[in-house]
């Protein structure tokens, strides 16, 4: 069976290894999904029945939780993840214009990944950096008072 799984999908054994240490914890499903995304960069569809079986839940329950939360990705993320804040405080500092300029420079829509797998562009609603709006996070590194120039500099400097 395993050789039928596309190369970018983790094998069953790897999925089981992620679930095993968490399955006995109280209310473990979110923890398990986080751990899968941590391990693989996304939560593969192929993991849904495995998680359901291991946690004694229905596939519908797992699917329902997985798709409820914006944070979980259903496809592999790019090498770099760019999260642009779109909330009020950043809007008050021309964050929408910045968000559009960033999308244009990257030639990406929000919620998509570049075809070469380099960059994923996402909207977020508040990074808690509202005193430094507009704010962006690149690969978990926060940036405040962002301009197109400082954004490009930071992206170019992000470790591969």
């Amino acid at each position: 069976m395993e050789n039928q799984i596309p190369a970018d999908l983790p094998p069953l054994s790897a999925i089981l290894a992620v679930i095993a240490p968490l399955k006995e914890r109280p209310g473990p499903l979110l923890e398990v999904l986080h751990a899968l995304q941590q391990a693989f960069g996304f939560v593969p569809e192929s993991a849904v029945p495995v998680v359901a079986n291991e946690l004694n839940l229905s596939r519908a329950e797992v699917h329902g939780v997985l798709t409820f939360y914006h944070h979980f990705r259903h496809h592999p993320a790019g090498r770099h993840v760019v999260q642009v804040c779109r909330a009020e405080s950043c809007q008050a500092m021309q964050g929408e214009a910045l968000a559009q300029q960033i999308a244009k420079r990257l030639k990406l829509d929000y919620g998509s990944t570049s075809p070469d797998g380099q960059i994923t562009l996402e909207s977020v609603y508040c990074l808690g950096l509202c005193s430094l709006s507009p704010a962006v996070m690149i690969d978990g590194q926060p940036l405040g008072r962002v301009t197109v120039e400082s954004f490009e500099q930071a992206l170019a400097g992000a470790p591969a």
Partner: protein
């Protein structure tokens, strides 16, 4: 010569302005000059426009420099900053800065002052005195102290914390829980984040006191996934507290057990609502529960559960340390104690200001904030996040106080203030409120799930001047339906920004 202690913040706001590189540059430059320097990564003092702020411990006290760029570092060494010598970026003792000196820091007393993950430093600055006092008291007496302090839920609902605790305490159950709502999703708020990154042990101590008071043995901090730095700091602090015996099987040898762990949210704003947070903690979709039963009676896994915001819990140690009367002396009317206010958006001097209730919005925006960042006149502020009302400049003399704000149809929420200059388009902000509600609705009730999308469409028609006056009536009708017919605050409060925009800025809705 012994090593000079230099503080460079690890707060995400400082990191967002380059604090990491500055800390590295100081280490490198010191090595190059063969000078012994010990860098402590503290929290932020809250003067965010001065970040990255570098503080040096000198015999005459701490001397601050900021905002420091890596390029400034060699010059700072050249000027003798390690002995507090003058430099263009020198700010003196930051505690004497007017922005800081005029604050009343109770909850944030240690934030920016100490090493956030050092139990030793925490205890040296009054930490864990509250817990020690609590362990010598009965659960009823602890709850009474919290009630007497007048502390109300700082997450936004402003429910008296002591009353909530009392309900949990009175339940008989095999298991009780303390849960901390750290899903700080409101735009314009960052007090929870700053506290968790700058003094996480205060939160841990507050949760431990709550556990002792109500007889709980397990705590969870539900933290939003957008806060990776707070996550790391909290986990380090929990490990340190456990190692020092402040949490674990027998808290300070008292025989009382309290375990604590951080659970991550996953980007759902609705999980800041307490019942959806509990659903999420149980590993389910963050859909709102119908109340009753209250979480205090049937909460996490069906057990009696305290659900409090970070700032509420972090305000408990000082109450138990200094007494309810001391905390209560701050503030006015039914708003007692202090509030960590967050100044954000289009503001020159954004940051955190902890003050007793009662100062005016105008003092905050101009005396602290220094007016807009853009230099244009301030036109509106939104207080309390995406569900908070917009307040026009004509009402800037309102006092920051739960009752005063509700008196003008606004709400305090979590104390975040987002300022907008006169370039703001209030119709667009009203539309965004509906858009955000549509995006974040859990989908359980119709007014919120469908109403928000219909709201966007109606606002688009108003903008396009299609039957404008009928659609304005329809928008108000829709707001009333959402207000009265939604299960929780998301659908029920989205009308606040929309209707306040309509009321105070009608001119923005009739432009063609």
């Amino acid at each position: 010569m012994s090593a000079v202690t230099v503080y460079v913040s690890r707060d995400a706001a400082a990191l967002a302005l380059g604090a990491e590189a500055v800390a590295r540059a100081i280490t490198t430059e010191a090595a190059h000059r063969k000078l012994a320097v010990r860098i402590i990564r503290n929290g932020s003092r809250g003067l965010h426009w001065l970040e990255p702020l570098v503080e040096v411990q000198t015999p005459a006290g701490r001397v601050a420099y900021g905002p420091v760029k890596t390029a400034d570092v060699p010059g700072l060494f050249e000027a003798g900053f390690l002995t507090g010598q003058p430099h263009a970026l020198a700010r003196g003792n930051i505690e004497e800065h007017p922005y800081f000196r005029t604050q009343q820091r109770l909850t944030f007393a240690r934030v920016g002052l100490i090493d956030p993950i050092s139990v030793e430093d925490y205890v040296a600055h009054g930490g864990y005195e509250g817990l020690r006092n609590a362990l010598a008291m009965s659960g009823e007496a602890i709850v009474q102290a919290v009630t007497d302090s007048g502390l109300r839920g700082r997450g936004g609902a402003a429910f008296p914390t002591g009353i909530k605790w009392q309900t949990v305490q009175q339940q008989v159950a095999p298991q009780k829980y303390i849960t901390c709502n750290a899903d700080e999703g409101d735009s314009g708020t960052f007090a929870d984040r700053m506290l968790m990154e700058g003094d996480p042990l205060t939160l841990i101590e507050g949760m431990t006191i709550a556990a002792v008071a109500v007889g709980a043995t397990q705590g969870y901090i539900y933290l939003r996934a957008e806060y990776p730095h707070a996550h790391a700091t909290l986990n380090e602090a929990i490990v340190a507290a456990r190692k020092a015996g402040y949490i674990g099987d027998s808290v300070l040898g008292s025989g009382r057990k309290f375990e604590l762990e951080v659970r991550l949210g996953a980007g759902a704003y609705i999980c800041g609502e307490e019942t959806s947070m509990l659903e999420s903690l149980e590993g389910r979709r963050g859909e709102v529960r119908v109340r009753p039963p209250l979480p205090a009676i049937k909460g996490l896994f069906g057990m009696p559960t305290v659900v409090n915001n970070v700032i509420s819990l972090a305000s408990v140690p000082v109450i138990l340390q200094q007494g309810a009367a001391h905390y209560r002396e701050f503030g006015q009317g039914k708003s007692r104690g202090t509030l960590p206010i967050q100044l954000a958006g289009n503001i020159r001097h954004g940051g955190l200001i902890e003050r007793a209730f009662g100062l005016t919005l105008r003092e905050l925006l101009y005396d602290y904030g220094g007016g807009s960042a853009s230099g244009r006149p301030l036109r509106a502020v939104q207080i309390g996040g995406p569900l908070g009302a917009y307040i026009p400049a004509s009402q800037f003399d309102v006092q920051i106080d739960y009752e005063a704000l509700s008196g003008i149809g606004a709400l305090l929420g979590h104390g975040g203030i987002v300022a907008f200059d006169d370039s703001v388009d209030m119709l667009q902000m009203a539309r965004y409120a509906m858009e955000f509600c549509a995006l974040e609705s859990c989908g359980k009730c119709t007014p919120c799930r469908i109403g928000s999308t219909r709201g966007m469409e109606v606002i688009d028609r108003i903008r396009a001047n299609e039957h404008r006056s009928e659609n304005l009536d329809l928008l108000n009708d829709l707001c009333e339906t959402m207000l009265h017919g939604s299960l929780c605050g998301l659908g029920g409060m989205t009308p606040f920004p929309v209707q306040s925009a309509l009321k105070h800025f009608p001119e923005d809705f009739v432009r063609s």
